[in-house]
Subunit: 271 residues, 2 copies
């Protein structure tokens, strides 16, 4: 099918590279340099967002803050194209869809994939291969539109999982936002340690703080755009941290073991 | 020199394998299976702790809870051997040394190295190569004893750094204990998420919770044996977490950026 991709960064670029062998892919980015980089890798590009139309599917893969404006620019005249957006928080898109015209067809498609690099230069179809793609229906998702989302996700190498916007945002608050918040809090509380930190910090400190390198844009999307769920997730984690602090202060080894066993159950869920 | 090693687990076994080409190494472990495993790799072993004497250096590499009993068993009759202990918290050994007889020679030598595997089967000299070895003087460290510690640490592949017990324990509370506490709190707070956790959790969640797999013995050593410093480190981190929670709840994007910049400064210290 003809697939337009708005936003040729890490995720949009990876989708373009993953889909082009099976689909007629055209990309757009507001940044001419990103369009040039994609052209250089053989991706057909257009110079204006509206030139992605006509298409069977248009993927919106912009930074979070541009998702709603881009959806608004496209929604009224897609000529039947299904809009798939990769926003990593679903609440705002869910609200947008409820207020959209009847003819709009909009489905969330969030690939659970990422890495530290940014931009088209970091794009790689291997990033998506075998990763869960969360297909999230909106008030403007028809059965046919859901099928298009499923086809695109599978053809990009993803494993399709369908979930509601509410479940999505509750779970990513736990699995993406909370680790980011803890990594940032840990790294920030080490900012005053001085140069000896490098001597004392082993791979454990490095891994636990890795997510603190998340770009400010993505961090804002994950934390602020999903604030209600994130604050609730922090509160639940804080209950465990309080308990842990108590058993440490009281040198209660068996209490510590109980918390570590609960933590092991959480880790075991990862398979 | 002749080097005895008490405790042939991950660290003691790695030290035995790293040192044997340049020194006459003999190992002991309370577990006959560990002695057999080491013998199978060509490490000379003895059946009783006291048979490590005579030696120029005896490394105590037992689990934390056995360090003080092993030091007590050795200290009175080492015949001049320098005792090097790898305990990952220095406070208890520091106190032990102050109460020891004048002739005792005791130096801390803590390799900043680790991995998830345990026991001699996971031992590997590569684990130690290029890692910081923190050489920590005690009240029973002579200049000659410090030199022995330095030689052993360098010959095991380590990079020697000298620091006080107080500085050591304050910094490992930040770099080892606090990441472990946060990883455990995060993993434990995900224990009730059910099987969908595996779908939603990407590499970020996995890395941030990795330290929750630390063995209960080591976790107890890092958290409980260094309780004062760990509780203080949790308190400092909690101040940042409170601030982070506030900017999220208030959807304060510029406040979030400030915290992320502080976190980036902490990460930058790692080099």
């Amino acid at each position: 099918m003809r697939v337009g991709i708005a936003g040729l960064g890490l995720i949009g670029g990876s989708l373009a590279l993953a889909l082009r062998s099976r689909h007629d892919v055209r990309g757009f980015d507001v940044d001419p340099a990103a369009r040039e980089a994609a052209s250089g890798e053989g991706i057909a590009t257009v110079d204006r967002l509206e030139d992605l139309i006509p298409a069977e599917a248009i993927i919106v893969a912009t930074p979070m803050r541009s998702v709603l404006p881009t959806l608004a620019a496209l929604a009224s005249h897609t000529g039947g194209a299904v809009i798939l957006d990769v926003a990593s928080v679903r609440g705002p898109v869910d609200a947008f869809a409820r207020d959209s015209a009847d003819g709009t067809r909009l489905v969330g498609m969030h690939p659970m994939a990422g890495r530290t690099g940014r931009g088209f230069v970091s794009a790689d179809p291997a990033l998506l291969a075998g990763r869960p793609f969360l297909v999230v229906p909106t008030a403007r998702s028809t059965v046919e539109a859901m099928a298009v989302a499923g086809t695109v996700a599978r053809d990009a190498g993803g494993v399709v999982t369908v979930c509601s916007a509410a479940e999505h945002d509750r779970l990513v608050a736990l699995t993406s936002a909370l680790p980011l918040a803890l990594a940032a809090a840990l790294a920030a509380s080490a900012a005053d340690a001085g140069p000896s930190l490098a001597t004392f910090a082993g791979p454990g400190f490095r891994d636990t703080t890795r997510l603190a390198d998340t770009s400010a844009d993505l961090a804002e999307a994950l934390l602020v755009a999903n604030a209600g769920n994130v604050v609730a997730a922090i509160a639940r984690m804080r209950t465990v941290l309080d308990e842990l602090e108590r058993v440490i202060a009281e040198r209660d080894a068996s209490g510590l073991r109980e918390i570590l066993e609960r933590a092991a159950r959480g880790r075991a869920l990862l398979g």
